[in-house]
Amino acid sequence: MTTRRFARLAPVGAILCLFLFSGPALSADDPVKTELSKWDTVRDKVPESIEELKALQAAVKKVVEKSTPCTVGVMIGMGAGSGVIVSEDGLVLTAAHVSGEPNKDCTIILPDGTRVKGKTLGTNDKVDSGMIKITDKGPNDGKWPYLPVGKSADLKKGQWLVALGHPGGWKRDRPPVARLGQIQDPGKDTIRTNCTLVGGDSGGPLFDLDGNVVGIHSRIGYTLASNMHVAADAFKTEWERLAKGEAIGKPARPAPAVLGVTFGSTTGVQDNDSTEIKEVAEDGPAEKAGLKAGDIIVEFGGKDVSTADEIRAIIRKKKPGDMVEILIKRGTKTIPKTITLGKRDS
């Protein structure tokens, strides 16, 4: 994940980096015993008896069993996060700061450790929602196991939830790690719970006790009750745009402008403390303006400059196509030039 992304999200709290996985054993419930009372999945109170503890436990285990196969690890470049499969053709919900830029290759790690290929789709930086598409075929006639996405607006404070994810990043022989908690604050775009999260969980799923995906792990605050998840509804309102690969809420970043030179003495090594041009790129903006190796730039865009970094700082604020007035020293002469800045190739 890029440093820029982290920096951008920092004001909201700590960003999580992630990883997850699966595979619980079935418990043999004694069939002779009296039936377990059933846990009301929207109940907002704590269990008050052993019987109620057992009922809640049964509901939690059912969710874990069903959702573990669909909870995945996501690897993009050096970054590691989590995600959850929500369609039979392999659509994965994750966090925007995990998936990053649209249309990039990534690796999805299934609960059994199998790695499959994926492509990042859209992101919404405002809420930290992201989508990925698994490009490999699923295991069941080409289809993927998947989980339904619930309605997060229906969540109530106190309601019990299960979080899965890969805290600390995906780890060999460790399935997705389960955590139990309750809603602390059911927000429209962000849900706060006390299901504890840590770096690596980002993008992992939050489930209600009916097994619906109701949130995606995003970031944490200082206390153990400050675990923030992107609300499922925030995905739904932008679903089409995310699936199409749009980067929503990202300020349009112009391509960087370039001058087409390297600095340093023509006789010595690269030197950032010099404004002497060492090399001029063929067909680049500087060459087109008539600059040559050995020229020393003394004024750039109306400012006196004495180091290459000063020039670079000015260029960073410009767009490709911008015209810049400069003054160069060539031998004993001082010559004014006008340069039209270019666009970086790749």
Binding site: T3, R4, F6, A7, A10, P11, G13, A14, I15, L16, C17, P24, A25, L26, S27, V46, P47, E48, S49, I50, E52, L53, K54, L56, Q57, V60, K61, V63, V64, E65, T68, V162, P167, G168, K171, R172, D173, R174, P175, V177, A178, R179, L180, G181, Q182, N194, C195, T196, L197, V198, G199, G200, D201, I220, G221, Y222, T223, L224, A225, S226
Partner: protein
């Protein structure tokens, strides 16, 4: 990389502000504990409070009626005594210490104790409730199985050091000096050693007047320290141009570990156990168990003892040493296989490079 640092600085600042209105947390707070009282009742009778130099240190698990108690070894120091529910206090002798599991076997002069019976843990499924026994009526904490009992040997690099120890902020190298010691090879960010005046190339030869033969000896000397504590470091410094060697003393105010993002996040949400890595097998739970309440038995809803809580290991995890690991070990410890009394040790071999502290890649 600088962008990441900047981000960290901002994030920490925000967390710092957040802590001002910190709220109690953990699964449903304390209300959830009450229905577990009958479930932990039996295990609580086999749980004791361990005191070190008359201060609350950790919990212990009574493992046989004739006075044997297991606890977390790395938390023990000074005079060890055992406190019972009725307030009675008994001196304890440390019989055995097993480093890989961080278990210590204590013996007290008492018979007829309530002891736990260790049940199998490995089939306990993800999602099952767990309760940590304590010395009161309720459990000290509850949570669920996050990851079933698993083998960590080979994965969790063998690190039996106290993660909360003080750090010099140096990377070490083997010295070519025939007189031994460890060479300071590079400094970490904000290096405590550098601030104190130690230079690259210096050879550390003593810590608090104890001779340092190699890296292992230095780690052992640091293991009982904490960030902020002062340590006396003696170095041998060679002046190549003048071809002289001098011995210099420095007082180093120890720092913390090099904080990477993962360490910062794991420390958000409460104190962690000192020794929290290097265990061979663990059952992982999301229960928020304070480090001082580790060492006691952990049960499921049927009251089965699945193991002993061994470490608050991170923001999202507490680790339980499973019964399957404890049972065979207990017999060996009782038989005196891992004596606690340190016998004369040969000087430890000098490690080629030191595993800690970590220095961030530029």
């Amino acid at each position: 990389m600088t962008a990441i640092r900047r981000y960290l600085a901002i994030a920490i600042l925000l967390f710092g502000l957040g802590s001002a209105n910190a709220q109690p947390s953990g699964t449903a707070g304390t209300k959830i504990l009450a229905p577990f009282a009958p479930i932990v009742a039996k295990a609580n009778t086999a749980t004791v409070r361990i005191l070190c130099d008359d201060k609350d240190a950790i919990l212990g698990t009574v493992v046989s009626p004739d006075g044997y108690i297991l606890t977390k070894a790395s938390e023990l120091k000074g005079a060890v005594s055992v406190k019972f529910g009725d307030g009675s206090l008994l001196d304890a002798e440390t019989i055995s210490i097993h480093k890989p599991t961080d278990l210590a076997l204590l013996k007290i002069d008492m018979k007829g104790l309530q002891a736990v019976k260790f049940d199998d843990s490995k089939k306990e499924p993800i999602g099952n409730w767990l309760a940590a026994a304590g010395v009161g009526k309720n459990p000290t904490a509850v949570g669920i199985v996050s990851v079933m009992t698993r083998d960590l040997s080979g994965q969790d690099a063998k690190n039996e050091l106290n993660a909360n120890r003080g750090f010099l902020g140096v990377q070490l190298a083997q010295t070519d000096d025939p007189d031994g010691g460890v060479k300071v090879d590079s400094f970490g960010d904000n290096s405590a050693a550098k601030k104190a005046g130690i230079k690259l190339g210096d050879t550390i030869i003593a810590a608090n007047d104890k001779t340092i033969s190699g890296a292992q000896a230095l780690f052992e000397a640091l293991n009982e320290t904490r960030p902020g504590m002062k340590i006396k470091i003696k170095v041998r410094r060679k002046d190549k141009t003048a071809d002289t060697t001098e011995e210099l003393d420095f007082t180093v105010t120890l720092g913390g570990p090099q904080a990477d993002r993962s360490a910062i996040q794991n420390n958000m949400g409460g104190e962690l156990s000192g020794r929290r890595t290097g265990f061979p097998t663990v059952l992982q739970t999301d229960m928020i168990l304070e480090p001082k309440n580790c060492g006691g038995p952990v049960v499921d809803l049927d009251g089965k003892v699945l193991g002993i809580s061994i470490a608050r290991a991170g923001r999202v995890e507490t680790w339980i040493l499973p019964s399957e690991t404890i049972r065979p070990l207990l017999a060996d410890m009782k038989a005196g296989k891992f004596p606690a009394v340190h016998t004369e040790k040969k000087p430890a071999p000098v490690l080629p490079t030191a595993p800690a502290p970590r220095v961030k890649k530029k």
